[in-house]
């Protein structure tokens, strides 16, 4: 006898035959946030498994202390359902590359056209020193935060948390590199531009040591959620936006520089997305039906710690506002705006800004 399977229907296309579940064309192992799963949910949810969803055999390799690949105690925060979080920016690989690529194209085009028109040579001399020293120092801030998030994306209990952290890291590291290459490029057009001054300023300038301490404290934290909160809830409004929007973006043009605001502007849009992701996750935790009080208390402790560091950082940067030739904005105004901003953010989470 020879084995000859029966002939099939002659097509492998949907609808070629009707049988049980021949129309089951949606992933049916998770509950979408809305009525219908988004594309982001389909490519993200449950790719990182756990014993609740759906590791029948539990983790099958462990660390020497017996812990599996991902455990809930990688953060001190508690949740009755870690799986509920969905990133509001709905980022997956395609949207991520589209956005990052668009930003790179925009940044490069602005720099290239600016250089073609001879713009860097027309920058005010005092402003050139600011770019060289202080924007040069700032690139290390973005790098430090980016590498912290790169570390953090290993620890979250779900794919949704870790992917949101990963894209946040990618945005930060892109900005760090954008600033680096931008300064190197305009440096070629400006005689005497010292490309190494930024790092020296970062490591040695007294005014920057508060910022360095704040960033290193985030880098040194072993709680991934503390890192995520410290960056997006505290550091960004009190130091990040303060320096980027409250100084660079507003002061550059009146000192003859129309390039820097465009290079930096992408970061502000990145932050809006990263803030939305962070807030959604933290909001779930401070309204958790079992652990809200614990989480609020924990987060307030983190806020107190990192606000103190961020305040010190911001105060250290204050003298920079008086260095440009043209001073269209005062530090006090920018600072007041960033304090308002963080109050609003903390208010959404039921947390308070500690007194200075």
């Amino acid at each position: 006898m020879t084995a000859v399977p029966s002939v099939s229907v002659g097509s492998g296309a949907a609808g070629a035959a009707v049988f049980p579940d021949s129309d089951s064309r949606r992933y049916r192992y998770f509950e979408p946030r809305s009525k219908r799963a988004t594309h982001y949910e389909d490519v993200t949810v449950d790719v990182q498994p756990d014993p609740e969803r759906y590791l029948l055999q539990d983790w099958i390799i462990s660390f020497p202390d017996g812990k599996g690949a991902y455990t809930k105690d990688n953060t001190a925060a508690l949740s009755s359902n870690w799986h509920a979080f969905r990133a509001p920016d709905q980022e997956w690989e395609r949207t991520h590359y589209q956005r990052q690529s668009k930003i790179e194209a925009m940044v490069q085009s602005v720099i290239a056209n600016g250089r073609k028109s001879g713009a860097p040579k027309a920058f005010n001399k005092a402003w050139v020193k600011i770019l060289q020293n202080h924007l040069g120092a700032w690139k290390h801030v973005e790098f430090g935060l980016g590498t912290s998030l790169m570390q953090a994306q290993r620890y979250g209990y779900t794919q949704m948390i870790n992917n949101a952290t990963l894209t946040n890291s990618s945005y930060k590291l892109r900005l760090a590199q954008d600033i680096t290459l931008y300064l190197a490029e305009i440096g070629m057009d400006i005689p005497g531009f010292d490309d190494a001054a930024g790092k020296r300023t970062w490591l040695e300038d007294k005014g920057w040591q508060g910022t360095r301490e704040a960033v290193e404290s985030i880098m040194g934290s072993t709680d991934y959620l503390e890192q995520y909160l410290a960056i997006n809830v505290v550091f960004e409004p009190l130091v990040g936006e303060l320096f980027r929007s409250g100084f660079l973006m507003q002061v550059a043009s009146s000192n003859g520089d129309f390039i820097t605001p465009s290079v930096i502007s992408a970061a502000e849009a990145d932050y809006e997305r990263n803030l939305a992701n962070t807030m959604d996750l933290l909001h779930l935790l401070v309204t958790d039906n079992q652990h809200a009080a614990h989480n609020k208390n924990l987060f307030q402790g983190w806020v107190d710690k990192h606000v103190a560091l961020a305040n010190k950082a911001a105060a250290g940067l204050q003298p920079i506002w008086s260095q440009p030739h043209s001073k269209p904005v005062q530090y006090a105004d920018a600072r007041a705006q960033s304090v308002e901003r963080i109050k609003k953010i903390l208010g959404e989470l039921g947390l308070v800004l500690p007194k200075e």
Binding site: A16, D21, T44, Q57, I61, S62, P64, E93, Q151, R154
Partner: protein, 556 residues
């Protein structure tokens, strides 16, 4: 003169050379002085020399390049639909994609996570840029593969199995092998897992069979989507291979690392062979309908990619740095694939267990037999009757092949190390860990679990090394369960509550489709629990019998 004038030449302005740009970016890092970065993923390796980034790529050029690659992938998927690809696709092939694509997104995203583990270990920042890009690459791979799976689910004739994919991944008796692979990237000693196991062995050696050989077979089966996605994925791998090699070169500088490198290369090569060859070998050889005798078989490709390319040009040169290379392991793997029919035994095992899978497995036919015999002389004598039985028992009303005593198949023990069963029967060994008895497919598997994954290696403390844990023997999860109840618990039932997701055929007719009732009345047993319950004498007798193998009865 005007003949050589181009727009580029008119508009060009002085830029920064690539090497200079990479150098400036590598200088973004610094040694913290206020608070130290925590080494949360420890290693027993010592790394003092800063590794170099061989690729020297920066994100400014990386993102547009990747977007362009994506545009080609998604454009090709649209074109495949417009060209009515699924009308001509071979269902035998797409069914195996339910298994493959259930597994692969997890190892991919695990690779992204593992970049955090190596990112802080090496001094200097040069390679951190390379790790950053690999992290984003792996995020790409994981979600682009999930997208491909969704696309199959939406357009292929039988979406069942795709629709439960990530749940099935966590439960199935076959996907457990893929979990061993993925967890191996992120658990235990950070260098063992994220460097040697992932980049130095899996990515450098075995992605060639995964992401190059398999797409070729997909195309032969009318599937143009998988090659489009996976060749794009593979184009990222050279970056990862560079990362792995660079870090390896740094580690080689420290003589005290050599014994660990030797251990980890041995473990990683053997386990990649056991896992990747089991899965990809089966997909390529048994998932295809193309029986062109001029095409390379899986073992022929293995010889080219793994033996010639990897072993000869990557592993062997490590000897000059003082690393002992276990040539015999490579030869043993080769013999397992050729003389001992490793892939064919795995395919046989997957087929026997069809009721607890979540895809359809079709019987092999005369045309297949001829090709197998041509490529693997002696195949028909060992496997011909089995596949005839499989076809015969694929019809409802027959006792399923897993429990049909007429066939002569003996259900195998599971290997505690690679999680592929002990299919080459004569090679089974047992060993003890913390006083408990375990079974292993080969002496090297025993060595892996007992000696390599321990807190001491050759007299040297290895406190960072991982441990094998959990309910590793899948069968023990359903010991003494009725088969139908186990399938229900696994969730491998269609939404009508009775028809099974898996089927032992490609007949898309409801009347032909097996239900829970067709399988009720058979009790599953854990071979390991059964073995442990035996007296020492009975156990020895059982293992001696097991080593003799089994004979499939003639199917008339």
């Amino acid at each position: 003169m005007s003949g050589t004038l181009t727009l580029n030449k008119i508009t060009a302005q002085r830029g920064i050379p690539v090497g200079e740009a990479a150098k400036k970016i590598a200088d973004l890092g610094w040694n913290p002085s206020y608070v130290q970065e925590a080494m949360t993923f420890p290693t027993d390796y010592k790394i003092t020399k800063a590794p170099k980034d061989p690729m020297k790529q920066v994100l400014r050029s990386y993102f547009p390049m990747q977007e362009e690659k994506d545009n080609r992938v998604y454009g090709a998927l649209d074109a495949a639909l417009r060209g009515d690809m699924f009308r001509n696709v071979e269902p035998r092939w797409v069914e195996w994609m339910k298994l493959f694509l259930a597994i692969i997104p997890f190892p991919e995203i695990s690779a992204a996570r593992s970049m955090a583990m190596v990112g802080r270990l090496a001094p200097g920042e040069d390679l951190r840029t390379g790790f950053t890009m690999q992290m984003v690459d792996e995020f790409r791979h994981s979600t682009i593969q999930m997208n491909l799976k969704k696309w199959y689910m939406e357009n292929y004739i039988d979406p069942a199995g795709f629709d439960i994919t990530e749940e099935a991944f966590g439960k199935c008796y076959a996907t457990t092998i893929g979990r061993q692979f993925g967890e191996g990237f992120i658990t235990g000693d950070a260098i063992t897992s994220a460097n040697i196991y992932l980049t130095v062995v899996a990515e450098t050696a075995f992605t060639n069979t995964l992401f190059v050989a398999m797409p070729s077979e997909a195309a032969r089966n009318g599937d143009y989507a998988l090659p489009t996605v996976f060749l794009s994925v593979q184009s990222d791998e050279s970056r990862h291979i560079g990362n792995g090699h660079s870090l390896l070169m740094s580690m080689l500088k420290e003589p005290e690392n050599h014994v660990l490198i030797e251990r980890d290369l041995r473990y990683a090569f053997w386990q990649n062979h056991a896992i990747v060859d089991a899965a990809i070998g089966t997909f390529i050889e048994y998932g295809t309908t193309n029986r062109d005798k001029n095409k390379e078989s899986y073992v022929e490709m293995w010889h080219r990619w793994i033996f010639e390319d990897y072993y000869r040009t990557y592993m062997l040169p490590l000897e000059k740095y003082g690393i002992k290379i276990h040539h015999d392991d490579v030869q043993t793997a080769w013999k397992r694939l050729t003389e001992k029919h490793y892939v064919h035994r795995v395919a046989q095992f997957f087929a026997v267990g069809w009721p607890v899978n979540f895809w359809r497995i079709e019987a092999q036919t005369d045309k297949d037999f001829e090709w197998f015999e041509h490529k693997y002389p002696g195949w028909y004598a060992q496997f011909g009757d089995f596949w005839k039985w499989y076809e015969k028992l694929s019809h409802r009303g027959q006792t399923n092949i897993l429990f049909n005593s007429d066939v002569g198949y003996v259900y195998p023990h599971r290997c505690w190390s690679c999680l592929v069963p002990c299919l080459i029967r004569e090679d089974i060994v047992t060993g003890e860990i913390d006083g408990q008895l375990y079974t292993f497919a080969h002496e090297l598997d025993r060595w892996t679990a007992v000696q390599a994954f321990a807190d001491e290696y050759e007299g040297r403390p290895t406190p960072a090394m991982g441990r094998f844990s959990g309910r590793r023997e899948w069968e023990s999860c359903y010991h003494d369960w009725d088969l139908a109840d186990a399938i229900k618990d696994l969730g491998f039932v269609r939404t009508d509550g009775k028809t099974l997701v898996p089927q032992p055929h490609l007949r898309f007719d409801e009347k032909e489709m097996w239900t829970l009732d067709d399988l009720r009345g058979h009790t599953l047993k854990s071979p390991l629990m059964t073995l442990r319950g035996m007296s020492p004498e009975d156990r020895e007798a059982h293992l001696a019998e097991y080593r003799k193998g089994f004979t499939i009865n003639p199917c008339n």
